[in-house]
């Protein structure tokens, strides 16, 4: 790993990363990848997020869907743990709450494959500092 020695180094790295993420999210290229984030703070893990993450990875591989499943921190929806955010290329990210294995399967089958929504979506109810 190269050390960051100046502000320019940091900028370069940031732009490189942003480009990479953009590429991943716009899905205009061959990388038509579904991205799933699993909220994995202590509370999420305690309510089963780890098992859900493993299950998602296995199922997606089994169904040969190109996807990246990654962990993230607390999304704040304690009442609906485990929670996951699914971004299908070309569509807005959607957060699903109370995800057990059954619902995880349903999300893959119905939402990811067939663009059908399933009950229990958590609407975004906050503003970020970007907008």
């Amino acid at each position: 790993m190269n050390k960051i020695k100046s502000l320019d180094d940091l900028r370069q790295l940031r732009e490189g990363m942003q480009a990479k993420i953009k590429l991943r999210e716009s899905g205009n290229n061959s990388e038509n990848i579904v991205r799933i984030k699993v909220a994995m703070s202590t509370c999420g893990i305690a309510s089963g997020a780890k098992e859900i993450m493993n299950f998602l990875m296995e199922e997606l591989e089994h169904k040969a869907i190109d996807a990246v499943v990654s962990q993230t921190g607390c999304m704040g929806y304690c009442y609906a743990e485990p929670t996951i955010e699914v971004t299908v290329p070309g569509r807005e990210p959607i957060v699903f709450g109370d995800v057990d294995k059954f619902r995880a399967g349903e999300i893959i089958e119905k939402y990811i494959i067939h663009n059908e929504l399933v009950d229990g979506i958590l609407p975004v109810n906050y503003r970020t500092i970007e907008n």
Binding site: K3, S6, Q71, T72, E116, P123, Y126
Partner: protein, 597 residues
Amino acid sequence: MADYKMHLLVCGGTGCNASDSEQIRDNLLTEVEKHDLNDEVQVVMTGCFGFCEKGPIVKVLPDNTFYVQVKPEDAATIVEEHLIKGRKVERLLYKDPENNEPISDSKHMEFYKKQVRIALRNCGFINPENIDEYIARDGYAALAKCLGERTPQQVIDEIKLSGQRGRGGGGFPTGLKWEITSKSIADQKYVVCNADEGDPGAFMDRSILEGDPHSVIEAMAICGYCTGSTKGLVYIRAEYPLAIQRLKTAIKQAREYGLLGEEIFGTPFSFDITLRYGAGAFVCGEETALIHSMEGLRGEPTFKPPFPSESGYLGKPTTVNNVETLASIPVIINKGAAFFNSIGTAKSKGTKVFALAGKINNVGLIEVPMGTTLREVIFDIGGGIKGGKKFKAVQTGGPSGGCLTNSFLDTPIDYDNLISAGSMMGSGGMIVMDEDDCMVSIAKFYLEFTLDESCGKCTPCRIGNKRLFEILDKITKGLGTEEDLSRLRSLCKVIKDTSLCGLGQTSPNPILSTLDNFYDEYLAHVKEHKCPAGQCKSLVKYTIDSEKCTGCTLCFRNCPVGAIAGEKRAPHTIDNSICIKCGVCYDKCKFDAISVS
């Protein structure tokens, strides 16, 4: 296979559900079917939109139309007008409170997004174990800006201008704290991150450290640059293993990138961070006790002054900042003080993270601008009280805070308003109580906590709190008298006035605020020996109505302590000297013969 062109999202949050959202969904489904739109339109239930006051809510995708206060009979209109004719149903649109204009696209509805995420900006967005994802979201740009373009004093001025106050509870201005340390002269200074989160029900610091550890590391380095410190310490409780692990990973990655260590960004500034583990003592959240604990001494507070900014860790000037305070620093630098102080109230700027817990539907971690009212937090974001019960009180500020009632629901939340209401901001725990909660028991619960956590150094806190607890215990057992209430009050005052540190000075708050706001409940306990909420077991009495009792023996067979006696097919009786008030008999009786008083 259906290829849906439109989605109707019906809010299935508990609040909307209570006002018939299921019926709305069913009606929409029927209408969609009636018009043969099954293959084009899908109707789904969602979680809470956080706008319960205007519920039930129906949102139409992809055009983001946001209908409020929808009634089941509106389903036909929505389908016929909006879906078929493509005309939005004007009367159901939300109207901008400022100019009464209907707003159709919810993307323009700032108000319904009552939360603004600054400290939590990356939580749930980035992978906390990947520094690159943090950098992609402007991570370490604030540190670079400070080191490359600003003098320490300029940065301090920016923080002062932003009006940020410490999020750990006290609300001391952050910029001022940094300035005092920067002006102290010493061969070594320290930056300490206080991650000893101890309030019952508060978990915002843990969530930030688990979700976005780099923001804290970056802010500590900025603080180091401003104050002239090269060493940072994170005091974190050992009960937070995942936070510790993620913090360690983050520190390692930052070192590999040269963002911690020698000559950061090619400048002469060097800074590194190590961790110190706390054993989970509440008093160690107090900065002097925290410092002693880090020094390997007993976690006991000492008298201030001298303040840690002048003489702290190992006698050197030390800046102690809370996790949430630090997590907001990079935003202040990147977006400017003006951005930060445009949010909030006159004396409290920015946003505050609250851990919403208790008898509330949407238990969760929220971040709202200072000045948001309790009503908005509890009834909109929190989705109201569980089970449709009545709101009774909300406890803020943990064991140092107080209980606020109905009359404070419309008070804008900020440091000063909460204090004048008899509570405090604290670290941001917010525990909601409903009509079934006994306020005397709640006060007793918090007292028990402080009693356990008192370090024992000063007499008022060590002995005074014990006496307070004994009086409360007496009251909840029905042995209290009216004189006890005045004794409680005067003892509270003495403890507040004479304790050494914040723990003792604030420990009587839960009692004082409940005495002020729920005096009737205390009176009922001491005068009538009754607990209005039915929570104090000693004051509850179960009796069997001999008229209704059929002698079925069900209660007799289920009583775990053998307090019930009686012959088959003859009325039974309860011996209250044996009864442990578990309520099993009450639940089991099929003839409604057992009553509670």
